[in-house]
């Protein structure tokens, strides 16, 4: 196994609201090797975005990381001061957001935004920062990058804007990029172009990528590994083909079953009944148990831990009990 760039262990991020403690992230452990692409999958409100923000140390009150560690190249990030984190953000860790319309400042030219990002972390001349920006734009496939540098965000199309956002994220050759549903707002054709670009860039620059999404089809072609999140915890993780071809956790099975495909034409789509539980008042035992058709008595009393089943790690009493017969 290659060197680990990012190791998260037992991360817990809770929000202390008036309605009670919301356990948005409740004991997540992940690790990421150099150049690896991890798909972080889950429904809305499963804590996947908050996991991303926790890694960057961008949890605003009333939220707080209450437990666990985030190690980047062996360096602990949890507990660092804001100014210490500032020097890591953008340089070693970068983020790409869902909506490229919103993440670029509308009143500053793309060049200005890129140059200031370079200058925020490195003492170089403006001309050199500009040259770096041009190189980054060229790398993500923007035509005539030199001219486009002076353009404003509204002069770009949606796909081009997301490419700019990716170029900005790549400026400092970060160790890890966290991409929070970056193609959800784009056309399918543009989406596949962006996916291809990102995949190639990760391979060539050795940047590890956490691709947060709710779309399993995107992950299937892109990621090396998948982690499925439910109610603030990872319920199943493993190599992409293991998780997608032999899902063990009923939730993962439900997720895959609810994707319409040609093979299932005319059939009724399998759906997961109910909705994600409120993170402020999780039931005792497995949080998925109330929606699970296979739940046994143990599921309602004891919360399952991640244990190896086949080539994956699964947190489910039933799957662990059957030993993962395929």
């Amino acid at each position: 196994m290659a060197e680990k760039v990012l190791e998260i262990a037992g991360l817990k991020t809770h929000f202390f609201t008036r309605a009670g403690v919301v356990k948005a992230v409740d004991g997540v452990s992940l690790s990421l090797a150099r150049g690896e692409i991890l798909g972080l999958v889950g429904e809305s409100g499963s804590g996947k975005s908050i996991t991303g923000f926790s890694i960057l140390g961008l949890i605003d009150p009333p939220g707080r990381i209450v437990e666990g560690s985030v190690r980047l190249m062996g360096q602990e990030l949890v507990g660092r001061s804001d100014s210490q984190m500032q020097s890591v953000r953008g340089r070693d860790l970068a983020m790409i957001f869902q909506d490229p319309m919103m993440t670029l400042n509308p009143v500053l030219s793309v060049g200005t935004q890129m140059v200031e990002t370079v200058l925020a972390h490195e003492q170089v001349s403006k001309a050199e920062a500009r040259a770096r920006a041009v190189a980054a734009l060229a790398m993500v496939g923007i035509p005539s990058p030199e001219e486009r540098l002076d353009a404003y965000p509204h002069q770009f199309s949606g796909g081009m804007r997301q490419r700019v956002a990716i170029a900005i994220a790549l400026l400092h050759r970060p160790k890890v990029i966290i991409a929070d549903e970056p193609t959800t707002a784009l056309d399918v054709t543009i989406q596949s172009q962006i996916l291809a670009t990102v995949q190639e860039l990760c391979r060539t620059t050795g940047t590890a990528l956490i691709w947060v999404t709710h779309d399993l089809t995107v992950i299937a072609g892109l990621a090396d590994r998948i982690a499925v999140m439910y109610a603030g915890r990872i319920v199943e993780t493993g190599p992409v083909d293991s998780v997608l071809d032999h899902p063990r956790h009923p939730y993962t099975i439900g997720l895959i079953g609810s994707v319409p495909s040609r093979g299932k034409r005319g059939e009724r789509l399998a759906q997961i009944p109910g909705s994600a539980p409120s993170l402020a008042s999780l039931p005792q035992g497995c949080p998925f148990a109330p929606r699970c058709g296979k739940a046994i008595a143990a599921c309602r009393s004891e919360r399952p831990d991640l244990e190896p089943v086949g080539r994956s790690l699964v947190a489910c009493h039933v799957a662990q009990g059957t030993g993962g017969a395929e």
């Binding site: 961008l58 500032q86 970068a94 919103m102 400042n105 509308p106 009143v107 035509p143 001219e147 081009m160």
Partner: protein, 301 residues
């Protein structure tokens, strides 16, 4: 795909050009702007064409006092708008007075805007107790009538241009603070701010380079209205006798000087400076009204 992209790039209207086009759609606003610019130009150029320098006491002759419009002065020039109680040519005094009124308005507006915007931005960005403290201070300031507060402040500080500006700033900063805080709160929750934080930019940089420019539109509107307000407030204070000294007459001082003669038929001493003040403020407000329409995103078609 690069060719159409480049073509689209050339054709897109820049925000500034769109702003100019939308502004000029309203003829009344353009008229107001032209009048205002003309007034500014006339005020700036006053020393070059005004027949008398009202600050130069050797040029002011008491024998010329209270002459009706059109009378000949002892120096030989015609006093088209008459003269006041101490022999100042009203025509010259109006444009010299406009210089002071406009300068006081512009200076207090600039300082109050800078102060108010900084405070408002900090309140919006910091949140919590800092925000509560600042905004309650703003509420307190805005709940008191501005003329009264300015009157008290000037009475405390004494006379003089700098003191008047200080008083006006203290009366007006709260409007800017409230306006900026409102839009900064909206901007702060937008994704580009989160993105900027993810890039490791410093708080000051995010605040002044990213959030501030996005909050400027409503500030520009407030600034035009408040400039007009500052000018009339200065005139009010001077009229009440606590503003600018007699030796440097602003429009308010000129109006006050003529007030005692109103009943004796010498209407021109107060009327013409009053008209000048009226035209200036109406012109600024016409511009401000149109700016509010153009810069308000909710009214965009």
């Amino acid at each position: 795909m690069s060719a159409p992209a480049v073509a689209a790039f050339v054709e897109v209207e820049t925000p500034l050009r769109r702003f100019v086009r939308q502004f000029s759609e309203d003829r009344v606003a353009v008229f107001g702007l032209v009048v205002f610019l003309l007034i500014v130009a006339l005020a700036l150029a006053a020393p070059f064409y005004a027949p008398q320098n009202p600050y130069d006491l050797s040029r002011v002759d008491l024998m010329d006092s209270r002459q009706p419009p059109g009378a000949k002065a002892l120096d030989g020039y015609t006093m088209w708008l008459g003269s006041d109680g101490v022999g100042r040519d009203i025509f010259s005094a109006i444009f010299y007075g406009l210089r002071i009124s406009l300068a006081v308005g512009a200076a207090s507006c600039l300082i109050a805007a800078t102060l108010g915007m900084t405070v408002g931005l900090i309140a919006a960005y910091a949140g919590g107790r800092t925000e509560t403290l600042i905004m309650r201070l703003v509420d307190l300031q805005l709940s008191l009538p501005s003329v009264l507060v300015a009157l008290i402040l000037v009475a405390m500080f004494g006379k003089g241009v700098d003191k008047i500006i200080l008083a006006l700033v203290l009366v007006q900063w709260a409007y800017y603070a409230r306006t900026v805080r409102g839009s900064a709160l909206v901007e702060r929750s937008k994704d580009y701010v989160e993105a900027a934080r993810c890039l490791g930019l410093s708080h000051t940089r995010i605040l002044f380079r990213h959030i501030l420019p996005n909050c400027l539109a409503p500030v520009i509107v407030v600034a035009t209205v408040q400039t007009a307000h500052a000018i009339s407030l200065e005139a009010t204070l001077s009229f009440l006798g606590v503003g600018l000294p007699q030796t440097e007459p602003s429009l308010g001082v000129l109006i006050a000087n003529g007030f005692q003669y109103m009943m004796s038929g010498k209407f021109w001493i107060s009327t013409f400076p009053g008209l000048a003040l009226l035209i200036t403020i109406v012109a600024i407000n016409l511009v401000g009204d149109r700016l509010r329409d153009v810069l308000n995103p909710r009214l965009e078609k």
